[in-house]
């Protein structure tokens, strides 16, 4: 299929846990270069949708297409090499590792040194490889302005910094598509502005397509190319931010207004 197919598509995805219907018949596609946002009230199924894409959950019905290819059954750890990176809603850093090591874990699928080369360090080329990748990782560190904490254990950082380190780790995968699960939750205004700038830059300058879940409507409406709204696991609207804002069912889901007709 190649370049013309959307980078990612969900095709009639449903997800059930016993009697709970987390997602019902959700279809959408993300085009290359977009910032695509998923919004919706709590429990709408946003994170479940992202989990289906990253491989944490397997849809009960429907399929996930990556550049036209069905990846519904591809193992979670193989999706990194496909070009899918993600951050988590509740921080999921490696707490005892330094920030630098956390980010280097993101390079995992790009590195090739195994146990033996690793142990031999100087002889098997592991050192050369580490240095080459360290150089690229330092670019990400510069970009996200976390130079000062490179050597600090990730578990000791403040919440805003941890979110940033998590973004750095996801970027280190060199993903074509980056999934951001509430990148700004719990941040103050200044941190949010920084994060919004990072997201726009990594989209425009680093060429990553972004799929983002976010509750802050100001940010979503400002930076998104397109927005999808979920409510109770169903897609109720999809389109440009303006269209979605004007949609009566969105207004009802968010403001509790009655839907006329």
């Amino acid at each position: 299929m190649g370049e013309d197919a959307p980078i990612l598509a969900a095709d009639h995805v449903s997800l059930r846990f016993g009697g709970v219907r987390a997602l019902t018949d959700v279809s959408f596609s993300v085009n290359r270069g977009e910032i695509f946002s998923i919004i919706g009230p709590n429990g709408a199924g946003k994170t479940s949708m992202v989990n289906c894409i990253s491989g944490r959950y397997r849809p009960t019905e429907g399929s996930i297409l990556w550049q036209g290819r069905d990846i519904t059954r591809v193992a979670t750890n193989r999706r990194a090499a496909l070009g899918i990176g993600r951050t988590f809603q509740n921080l999921a850093l490696f707490g005892h590792m330094s920030v630098l090591d956390n980010i280097m874990v993101g390079r995992h699928h790009l590195l090739s040194s195994g146990v033996v080369q690793g142990m031999l360090w100087w002889l098997g080329g592991a050192q050369r490889e580490e240095i080459a990748h360290r150089r690229e990782v330092e670019e990400i560190i510069d970009f996200l302005e976390i130079q000062a904490v490179r050597k600090a254990p990730a578990g000791t950082l403040s919440y805003g910094l941890r979110k940033r380190v998590e973004l750095a780790r996801a970027m280190a995968l060199k993903p074509q598509l980056i999934l951001l699960d509430e990148p700004m939750a719990g941040m103050n205004l200044e941190e949010k502005e920084d994060m919004a700038r990072f997201i726009v830059d990594l989209n425009e300058e680093w060429g990553m397509t972004v799929l983002m879940i976010e509750h802050d409507m100001g940010v979503v409406m400002d930076i998104s190319t397109r927005v999808m709204v979920l409510d109770f696991g169903r897609q109720i609207a999809i389109g440009s931010p303006e269209e979605v804002m004007a949609h009566p069912r969105v207004r009802s889901a968010y403001l509790g207004e009655e839907v006329e007709a």
Partner: protein, 355 residues
């Protein structure tokens, strides 16, 4: 705690920023330590050298267990069985195939790694208490195998083995065998430190710290959980082989579950997730009985000795001290001797300030 580096310590290349010992002084101290260790046979007696050899062999095996428990966050209560397998395998390889002993030792490590890989397969699926029970099964299966496989172990009678000899030089005394052990200790510890600063070492720690996000980062959980068992057993096998060619006799009953628990004690006391801590823990466990013995000797003939019969109960006393020290470490220093050492270093650097 951010790593403390002295003022003026500038790193101008990434290679300089990735060294195992971060400062020039720490590198000099380590080299000096190795030189001092090389001089030990000139100064120390055979008994003391024997203790050092024990610290080295057990330290290598403890490092293996630390990679499994401390770095990957798994559990094994069958480590002594792997240690024993390495001991028997090295002795067997030498006797059956007449391979030089010095080659038998690494080969025994590889053989034990394969066995560890097989017993590690359940680790791909099991965690916590369930994995502990699975490794307990490994302990008993291997112990039973040792008792029955007479072609391999000599059965309950045990198996004699030979000294290491290289180019006609026989390493049959503590003074000379010490260097063999020292060489392996340096190799194995540098190897582990290197592993931990590369891809697969980081993957192991990632699996420990947050396996769900490790998986999203492209890490195959089942592979690394099993690999961790193989590496751990490799170290146990090397340690066991060194132990065999020191004692020259390997007997089945040595590798029981108590010994496995002692390995766990070594990594807990030394410091989970610390390469050097493994050696410190092994040193602690080897020297503790000596300290107990010295204390009892001091008290000999006194009132305490007469009422408690210390001399007659010395073996129980040792076990109790081991148990007590594990409990005390868990309560007061759960991060082990390695962490205590870091605190001491920080204290010297920061004095007279506390932060």
């Amino acid at each position: 705690m951010v790593a403390l580096t002295p003022a003026g310590d500038y790193r101008t290349s990434y290679a300089a920023d990735m060294t195992i010992f971060p400062t020039r002084n720490s590198r000099i101290a380590m080299l000096l330590g190795i030189v001092l260790a090389c001089a030990a046979p000139l100064v120390l007696g055979r008994y003391e050298l024997g203790l050092l050899i024990n610290i080295g062999t057990l330290g290598i095996a403890a490092l293996g267990l630390n990679i499994l428990v401390g770095f990957t966050g798994q559990i094994s209560i069958g480590h002594a069985a792997f240690f024993g397998f390495g001991a028997f395998m090295s002795a067997w390889l030498h006797e059956e195939f007449h391979i030089p002993v010095i080659l038998c030792i690494p080969l025994a490590g590889l053989g034990t790694a394969v066995v560890g890989l097989i017993f590690g397969l359940p680790a791909a699926r099991l965690k916590g208490l369930y994995l502990a029970i699975a490794t307990l099964a490994a302990q008993f299966i291997l112990e039973d195998f040792f008792a029955r496989a007479r072609w391999f172990t000599g059965g309950v009678a045990g198996r004699m083995t030979e000294n290491v000899s290289i180019a006609g030089i026989v390493f049959d005394r503590e003074e000379s065998y010490f260097y063999i052990v020292l060489g392996f200790v340096v190799l194995m510890f540098v190897g582990a430190a290197n592993l931990m600063r590369t891809r697969d070492g980081r993957a192991l720690v990632a699996v420990r710290d947050h396996y769900l996000s490790a998986e999203v980062m492209g890490i195959n959980l089942a592979y690394y959980r099993t690999l961790s068992f193989a590496i751990s057993s490799f170290y146990a096998g090397i340690g066991g082989a060194l132990y065999a060619h020191y004692l020259l006799f390997v007997s089945v009953e040595a590798f029981n579950i108590l010994f496995s628990i002692q390995f766990l004690a070594m990594v807990i006391i030394g410091g989970l997730g610390s390469v050097m801590g493994s050696l410190l823990g092994a040193a602690f466990m080897v020297l503790l009985p000596e300290v107990v013995q010295a204390l009892v000797d001091q008290l000999a003939g006194g009132a305490i000795d007469r009422t408690l019969k210390l001399g007659a109960n010395i073996s129980f006393l040792r076990e109790m001290m081991v148990g007590a020290s594990i409990i005390l470490f868990l309560v007061f220093e759960p991060n082990g001797l390695a962490h205590r050492w870091r605190l001491i270093k920080a204290y010297w650097k920061l004095y007279p300030y506390s932060h």
